[in-house]
């Protein structure tokens, strides 16, 4: 059974390389985008941390800024 799945009637090399290429493509894209996201989140937190009390208060008024901080705290 296992041998049949691996050999695929002699087409195993083609089938498995096509599926492997697809999964490698998926994984690479996922990690590239995840890296970009966490980089921007870290930049946001660093910038927010450097704001003075007044500016931080103004920034916190925006829902989206609060949401970013909330999500970043879970990382």
């Amino acid at each position: 059974m296992i041998n049949e799945i691996i050999s695929m009637n002699g087409y195993g090399a083609y089938v498995w390389s096509a599926f492997s290429f697809t999964l490698i493509g998926f994984t690479s894209l996922y990690f590239v985008i995840k890296l970009q996201l966490s980089k921007e989140q870290k930049r946001f937190v660093a910038k927010f941390g450097s704001l003075n009390v007044e500016k931080a208060k103004v920034a916190r008024l925006q829902n989206i800024n609060r949401e970013i901080l909330l999500n970043t705290s879970k990382i």
């Binding site: 799945i5 695929m8 083609y14 290429f21 930049r43 946001f44 704001l51």
Partner: protein, 235 residues
């Protein structure tokens, strides 16, 4: 008119959704892979080589669908002067580009055992190659140009121009004599594909669509945080 398209409102959803979409994607992909590699029957002519269809066809469909969406969103951003359309299009493009490459590479791998060659310059394959070039130009333009107004105009033009290629890809197998087979699935008439193959193909298409949704959500969040980072600089 497009108040529900406001980034502030969308972010509340897009920031929470990726983890659920990722979970759903893994579940559907696992079922799809089991169906595609183990449970689905082999073809009477192509034998097990037919299984490449389960990654090749969904990748091609989704890359075409995403490029059509880029063109529609670009037209939308021109007509309604809504920059968020451009942001949505920018976030969709990376997965479309990767799906297009997957379709070309897996098609090439499938071509070797069925046609005896890795590559032929036939209408379907060449037009898919042209589409990947349009995707490349679109993504490159976002990286090259700094001026926001300029980059939206240029990328929109690329998407609208590239969309001319989409019907050419679709009908290339009908208009010209190609090595590529005609479509096996037709919405308006009977399918020439058996249900035992149609079901895994459908499941894999759902899995691929979920993956592109996941990438879109993550990329869109990245772009919004980038904008907010610039906003903090201006405070």
């Amino acid at each position: 008119m497009f108040k529900s398209f406001e980034p502030n409102k969308i972010f509340a959803i897009t920031s929470k959704a990726p983890k659920y979409v990722l979970f759903l994607f893994i579940v559907v992909l696992t079922i799809g892979l089991t169906e595609a590699l183990v449970l689905s029957p082999e073809d009477y002519k192509q034998s097990d080589a037919v299984r490449i269809m389960y990654v090749h066809v969904p990748a091609a469909w989704i890359s075409l669908g995403i490029f059509s969406s880029l063109a529609l969103l670009s037209v939308g951003s021109f007509i309604f002067k809504n920059k968020n359309f451009a942001l949505i299009a920018k976030s969709l493009a990376p997965s479309g580009f990767v799906f297009n490459i997957i379709a070309l590479v897996t098609g090439s791998i499938w071509g070797k055992p069925t046609w005896g060659t890795w590559w032929v310059w036939d209408a379907r394959i060449t037009s898919m190659l042209i589409l990947v070039l349009f995707y490349g130009m679109y993504l490159l333009a976002w990286r090259i140009y700094e001026n926001k107004e300029q980059v939206i105009k240029i990328t929109s033009m690329i998407a609208i121009l590239g969309s001319i290629n989409v019907p050419i890809i679709k009908y290339s197998v009908d208009w010209w004599n190609t090595l590529h087979q005609p479509p096996s699935i037709n919405v308006l008439s009977n399918n020439s594909i058996h249900t035992s193959m149609l079901i895994p193909l459908g499941i894999m298409t759902v899995a691929f669509a979920l993956f592109s949704l996941l990438i879109f959500l993550m990329k869109y969040n990245t772009e919004l945080i980038k904008i907010k980072n610039k906003g903090l600089d201006r405070l």
